[in-house]
């Protein structure tokens, strides 16, 4: 009997200890934040721009929509997060194809490219309440007009009117009496916001190769792609945060990432540009100070790659003639001169960020980010330091079993335009925002499993 009792006891204990040892779902809390009406303010990064365009699939993976989905777990009664979807291929976008045994980057305008969707022209969200107010291309200094600057209201209108997305989302008003972006921001009446504006106040300059495109409005010079003035930037940033926090809304803002570390400025390396004999080729660039040989300090912009590539894969140009140039170097001369390979056909000024332009970016970035931090502090709004966070990416990093870097395509986080993240990259950014929100507002929004999002889509 003793034996049987002992055995029975043994199995009772056994049964007890083999119960599932699962973890419970945490109890979610919104902390001191109220996500009822979450509004996202920003530029292309906020709109979900990727692969050189805005289209529904990309928008569904915008970082604000990812954040909103997670907020919903915490506060199920929050408003639906409304995005202005551009259906199908939307504005058109870049994709990869496998042709002639190589991976090819196919742009919308190329044959077989994903062109603008027929619905894109007629689509309008003007007058509809939107939650994602991200507009590709918008600068912080274009969100409202400074009365102290002559013609600034025209500037804001022009910025918006040139924008294929802005005019489909907002009533822009008239050139003399424009309806500023900030008016729509105020109307959205957020209880919580994310604000990531400012990148275009630097990026526009960089992606146009430092070519600022000066125009005159009412006699005042105006630079479409200029680096924004920190004082003007600060004034308008303050106004933006005033607008957002007007009704007591809480939120987070983010700093401007270091734009020069993105693939757009780093894909083309002179050491990779070789002729069919394997010898390095001389590359000529046009700068504000004339035409000269490119150096490693000049950044040739990503779109040039396909132009160089076309030449270099074209046998027509395989046999250049060696001649001595004016300073005694032996150079190969082709006829007609292919793009970038001779002083008569240099890489255009707006397709290279030469070293004199490049050095202006770091101080401008530091100045604007200092203003963002100061403005946020004055409004009691926490800052997501994206500049700092993305700096760490340059040396490579791993998340949930995948290694990433800032390299084009193989790095895994940037989309094919070399500027904007892909879906997985946006998920990583969304988690960074969520982390900041949780820290400051004592909420516990769960971050997303980034492996559920696709990175580069291969052919």
């Amino acid at each position: 009997m003793k034996l049987i009792r002992a055995i029975v006891l043994l199995f009772v204990i056994l049964l007890f200890t083999t119960c599932k040892k699962e973890f419970d779902t945490p109890i979610y809390t919104q902390g001191t934040a109220d996500f009822t009406n979450y509004i996202a303010v920003g530029n292309s990064l906020t709109q979900g721009y990727q692969n050189g365009g805005v289209y529904e699939e990309g928008q569904r993976n915008s970082y604000p929509s990812i954040i909103a989905r997670q907020m919903k777990l915490v506060q199920p009664a929050m408003n639906e997060f409304v995005q202005p979807y551009f259906f199908g291929t939307g504005s058109g976008y870049i994709h990869l194809e496998w042709k002639n045994s190589t991976i090819q980057v196919v742009k919308p305008e190329d044959s077989g490219g994903y062109k603008e969707d027929p619905s894109f022209e007629n689509i309008s969200y003007v007058g509809q309440p939107l939650s994602n107010l991200g507009v590709s291309g918008i600068k912080l200094i274009g969100t409202c007009a400074d009365p102290a600057i002559v013609g600034d209201n025209y500037n804001c209108y022009l910025l918006a009117d040139n924008n294929p997305y802005g005019k489909r989302m907002f009533d822009l008003g008239q050139p003399a009496t424009p309806n500023y972006y900030l008016n729509d921001v105020v109307k959205s009446n957020p209880t919580f916001f994310t604000c990531w504006l400012g990148a275009n106040d630097i990026l526009g300059y960089a992606t146009h190769g430092g070519n600022v495109l000066g125009i005159s409005i009412l006699g005042t010079p105006f630079y479409v792609y200029g680096l924004s003035d920190p004082n003007e930037f600060r004034k308008k940033y303050d106004r933006t945060l005033d607008s957002l926090t007007k009704n007591g809304a809480k939120g987070v803002v983010a700093t401007i990432p270091n734009v020069t570390s993105i693939p757009f400025f780093n894909l083309i390396k002179l050491e990779d540009i070789k002729g069919s004999d394997g010898a390095l080729l001389d590359i000529f660039i046009k700068t504000d100070n004339g035409v000269r040989l490119a150096t490693d300090e000049d950044r040739i912009l990503l779109p040039v790659a396909s132009k160089l590539n076309k030449f270099l894969t074209d046998s027509l140009y395989d046999n250049g003639v060696s001649v001595e140039d004016s300073i005694g170097n032996i150079i190969l001369v082709y006829s007609p001169t292919p793009y970038g390979l001779g002083p008569t056909n240099p890489i255009k000024n707006n397709e290279v960020l030469d070293k004199d332009e490049f050095v202006k970016i770091a101080p401008a970035l530091a100045a604007l980010n200092a203003e963002i931090k100061a403005s946020a502090a004055a409004h009691n709004i926490p800052v997501v330091d994206m500049e700092n966070y993305l700096q760490n990416f340059e040396s490579g990093f791993a998340i949930s079993g995948v290694n990433y870097s800032t390299k084009y395509i193989e790095g895994g986080v940037f989309s094919l335009d070399g500027v904007h993240p892909n879906a997985r990259g946006y998920a990583i950014l969304a988690n960074k925002f969520i982390d900041a929100i949780n820290t400051y507002y004592h909420s516990n929004i769960p971050p997303v499993n980034i492996n559920k999002y696709k990175g580069i889509v291969f052919p």
Binding site: E22, F23, L96, G275, L308, N309, S400, G401, P446, P459
Partner: protein, 419 residues
Amino acid sequence: MSILKWRLVCVLITPGVALAGGFQLNVQGQKALSMGEAGTALSKDASVLFFNPGGVSLLRNKFNFTAGTSIIIPNISLQTEAVANTNQTSPIGTPIQFYATAKLNEKASLGFAVNNQFGSTSSFDKDWEGKFIVQKLALKTFMYQPTFSYNINSRIGVGAGFVYTSGSFEFEKAVPVATAQYDNGQASLKGNGTGFSYNAGIQGILLKPDTTKWVSSLKAGFSYRSPIKLSLINGTAAFTDISVALQDQFPAQTSFNAQLTLPGVYSLGLQSNIRINEKINIDVVIDYNRTMWSSYDSLKIDFSNAETPDSKIAKNWKDVSTFRIGAGINYNKILSIRLGAYYDQTPVRDGYVSPELPDNTNIAFTAGVGIELMENLSVDISWLVSDFKRTASLEDAGFSATYHRNVNVIGFGLNYTIK
């Protein structure tokens, strides 16, 4: 000109492949297992072949046979910030043991052992959060050990066995390249390999059995099992759901070589018998093991296809100690009730904890019964439970989680002797 021909150096096997600490299967004898697996100084059945070949010649009967199996029931869950709960889908493991010894004469004995000393199968849902680290990892080993043992005198026995190991390795993970159709590619590696090692030991009787004394006997043992270099030659690697553009790097079929070193183990043990009365006596055992896991500093996988990136995963494990204690109450030679516990250090450092076999320093509890069915036939039933939580990361892979591992092992053994 190669600007647009990116070489994708996707790290195929991210630093996740671990055959973590639990992959030494300490379930090699049911009597010892019931008593904290402290078997170095025991010589009660043929499982002494594994624990200490020196004790073989001290077995009383001419022929000893022991056969058994253990049913390992794992319940392993993990929690990350993003996913509240993920369960491993690992199957139940059933390592076996078979031991046979025969006395050649008064002095010399022969023995043969077959068991599974290392192994683990860990699996997850294919689409789980850490799919790029591991989806499935299985290691199985069979050890075959012919043994010779000799008693130098009536107090001291020595013995040594030659160990031939055949192992199989299976590894599945997702490859982080997507296409329109597939969220990720899929890698599947399978290989077999063999290794050689030895197992040697000595057992000495410090106090000869004396039924007039309270402490009626005392025995000590020392054994060493050498490390096993398991070479997996010409394993097959298959890549599926891979973009047409990347099939140079990830071909449908290629082969690989890998090597992993199973650690050497030093063991020191004591066994004493305490006499309560005519019918009842108590065995007390203690053991100390030193497992040289530092031999497992990295796991290298070399693919024969030159374009497929080879993989070297830093493991950086450390040598660890295990302290074991157990007792068995024997009633009238027909029934034994056994209890035990052991304190097991983990070889896995912080920053190297991988989700397939999370490991932690823990205390495990054991129990069991032994029943003599006939004079020469007895059965042992054992049970072990180990339970721990650990929050740790696999730094190279950027993966952190809180793990809860609960393992129950139920073992059955049958002993048959011929006088």
